[in-house]
């Protein structure tokens, strides 16, 4: 397409002189205008701003790349484009409302955000042991379903970014099945706000367990499709094998966890090493790979989905024996009203609860009003809780001043930390491999920027 007229009339690929040199704006399909504009004999380095609006940077990630030909000599990440002040906002809501905010951080793994926060709050309250068994089982169930849906997006978008569109379509197709389950259980596909300090918002609806069985059976079969499409695919392997190499020492120094760390062969998984929510009662394996590259991370994600299915099956089996069991802590000073039903107006109310507080007991009304408007107080101190999210260690540092609102809630998001490894993975490699390296980290910018 490199007609001279095309260059001069293209409004986007313009060239301008700035104090820092010649600057081009390119939007794709117009690389010729740059090639024409650069003096081939000059040894000036080219600095490419990839993103923040680029389809292959996994969201609003900006990569600043210094290129020598197609080789990346230096790489820096620019983040902050999705900063929404979630941690600051949480300081102005009560402890229960905090869940509604933090679930929006890593939007592909909302249940992990909620659980990390809720575990920290429960530790502050000293009620970790009083959380009912059923609430813990449902938390594990939702988290493991969430791990599958998150890994599916990781594989799907990673495939799309290297041009494997079929992987993308089947990934999103299967993720939809899991989102349907979330909708059935929590009412929402994402941003659930379902896990609450003391338990969960409500019991599983009738028929949910059968539906989960159906979906897991389908997904169990379809996981084989991913393996058939990708595992031995020569193009797929050519793009992924030995790309984005990061060994164990580098992972520890840079704080990388999750599939990155396990791809070095080190079986570190908080579900096994520091169990929470009763993970020690489930039978599953920690998946490792020993190549420390993007291909290993892909294989780990694929195998982890199968392990998650195993845990989901164990959860549904346990839930059959927990029919009607409580899902919220017994302490009425902490337990927010739960067991809501969808009313004729479409809003989630519990008619029994309303009848009780409006018609039967003045004290219950006062108590309800105090709990919902004021919230509960959390004794002063600080606590740290970690969960193994699909991307690695997700932790919450919660500080209380004894009041009804979090004094400070800080999240150690694995995407944020793992993104620091991009320069180590991609400097010295080819530009095209940067895409694969970033995809193998699977950063979610909502979690990075919070």
């Amino acid at each position: 397409m490199a007609e001279d007229t095309a260059v001069s009339t293209d409004p986007y690929a313009t060239e301008q002189e700035t104090t820092s040199g010649k600057v081009f704006t390119v939007t794709g399909q117009d690389w010729d205008s740059i090639v024409d504009g650069i003096d081939v004999d000059s040894d000036e380095r080219i600095v490419v701003n990839m993103g923040p609006q680029h389809p292959s940077t996994h969201g609003v990630l900006r990569l600043i790349l210094e290129l020598d030909g197609e080789t990346v000599t230096e790489c820096r990440c620019g983040i902050g484009y999705l900063h929404t002040g979630i941690e600051k906002n949480m300081e102005f809501r009560n402890w229960t409302q905090g869940v509604t905010f933090c679930t929006r951080m890593d939007y592909l793994a909302p249940f992990y955000n909620e659980t990390a926060y809720v575990l920290a709050v429960e530790k502050l309250l000293g009620i970790t042991d009083q959380v009912p068994e059923k609430a813990e089982v449902v938390r594990v169930l939702l988290m493991e379903l969430n791990r599958i849906s998150s890994h599916m997006v990781a594989i799907a978008t990673g495939g799309m970014e290297i041009g494997a569109l079929t992987v993308m379509t089947i990934g999103f197709r299967d993720r939809e099945l899991i989102l349907d389950l979330f909708e059935l259980i929590t009412g929402l596909r994402m941003n659930h706000g379902f896990i609450r300090p003391g338990g969960i918002a409500q019991d599983t609806p009738p028929g949910a367990l059968d539906k989960i069985r159906e979906v897991t059976a389908v997904i169990g079969k379809r996981l084989q499709e991913y393996a058939d499409l990708c595992n031995a695919n020569p193009i797929f392997k050519a793009r992924l094998v030995d790309v984005g190499y990061l060994d164990l020492a580098a992972c520890l120094a840079l704080g990388a966890t999750g599939p990155l760390l396990r791809a070095t062969g080190y079986p570190w998984d908080l579900r096994k090493s520091q169990p929470y929510c009763g993970y020690e009662q489930y039978d599953f394996d920690v998946i490792c790979w020993d190549t420390a590259d993007a291909y290993g991370r892909f294989r780990i994600r694929l195998a982890e989905m199968a392990e998650s299915l195993k845990i989901v099956e164990q959860c549904t089996a346990r839930l059959h024996g927990l029919e009607g069991a409580p899902v919220m802590v017994a302490d009425k000073k902490i337990a927010w009203p739960s067991q809501l039903a969808v009313g004729p107006d479409g809003l989630g109310n519990s008619l029994d609860h309303i009848r009780h507080i409006m018609g039967e007991s003045m004290e219950a009304l006062i108590h309800h009003f105090k709990l919902v408007t004021e919230g509960f107080r959390v004794p002063a101190g600080q606590a740290y809780a970690s969960v193994e999210s699909p991307r690695g260690e997700l932790s919450c540092h919660a500080v209380s001043d004894g009041g009804t609102r979090p004094y400070r809630a800080h999240f150690r998001d694995p995407s944020f930390v793992n993104l620091q490894t991009v320069p180590a993975m991609s400097e010295g490699g080819l530009l095209a491999d940067v895409i694969v390296a970033v995809a193998s980290i699977d950063p979610v910018m909502g979690g990075v920027d919070r």
Partner: protein
């Protein structure tokens, strides 16, 4: 959670209900406090636990707040204007700390120069099954170096750095909190370092833990703590030319009043609050 990691868990409840002598730090504000102190709901409803002497526990008073809902002065018939609330964080814990906590503390004492220990570790706090070392800022790098390199400690993994702002804690308004993980021994500890708002400098630990790079940039961005020795301490989340540090308590949340059916709802940071 395994037993090993929560050696204090069984004591936690009784401890909280028997606060030891308060150590006011805030200066003159706490001196004349004779009105009933409303610590929080849990404490207000206590039964004295005379039978079982819980371990003596100092509290760190970080703030004293008065009044609620803006009820102050002559017109206040609600009583809310007279409320006094003392914000006290768990203070120094006497030995033994329990479980592996003593082992780590002993080993850290050995690893540091003996003359240095009391100067380096100002306070050890065991609370809710977690071990916290409050470290003097000028000794921080030496302490993390020892924690990382000593084979019996081997905290090879820095999980994160988080900032906390206590505007009323004069001389130690800004806290940087480091969460260390030892994968070798499967242990977690916390380091807390404070610095005054007037001199917000803390040495950087990037040389020991490269992962601290972005964490320290984030804490600088949100709290204005300057990590001396950081290779490139720039803002990370906020735009480079942003004024102020948004997570400080004196930085407003922002927002506008919203009108709905004739009533006006103020933005979240201006609504009445139970504090």
């Amino acid at each position: 959670m395994s037993d090993e990691s929560t050696p204090e868990a069984s004591d936690a409840v009784s401890e909280k209900t028997t606060p030891g002598p308060l150590k006011p730090k805030g200066g003159s504000e706490t001196e004349g406090t004779t009105s009933p102190v409303r610590d929080d709901v849990v404490d207000a409803a206590l039964v004295p636990t005379a039978e079982v002497p819980a371990p003596r526990r100092d509290l760190e008073v970080v703030d004293v707040r008065r009044g609620m809902f803006g009820a102050e002065g002559a017109g206040d018939t609600s009583g809310y204007g007279g409320l006094v609330k003392r914000v006290a964080m768990p203070g120094a814990t006497p030995r033994p700390y329990g479980g592996w906590f003593d082992e780590v503390a002993d080993r850290l004492d050995d690893a540091l120069d003996t003359a240095d220990v009391s100067a380096a570790v100002e306070r050890v706090v065991v609370d809710r099954g977690e071990l916290t070392f409050v470290v003097a800022r000028d000794r921080l790098v030496g302490v993390v170096q020892a924690l990382r390199d000593d084979p019996a400690l081997r905290f090879e993994f820095l999980s994160g750095v988080s900032g906390v702002h206590f505007p009323a804690e004069t001389g130690a308004e800004l806290h940087a909190v480091y969460h260390l993980l030892s994968m070798t021994h499967n242990r977690r500890i916390r380091l807390e370092v404070t610095c005054p708002d007037a001199d917000p400098h803390i040495p950087s630990v990037v040389a020991v833990y490269p992962t601290a790079d972005w964490h320290e940039r984030e804490t600088y961005d949100f709290f204005g703590i300057v990590f001396d020795g950081h290779p490139a301490l720039t803002r990370i989340e906020m735009p480079d030319d942003w004024p102020g540090h948004p997570q400080r308590k004196d930085y407003p949340l922002g927002g506008i009043p919203v009108e709905y059916k004739g009533a006006t709802i103020p933005p979240p940071d201006e609504r009445r609050a139970y504090h």
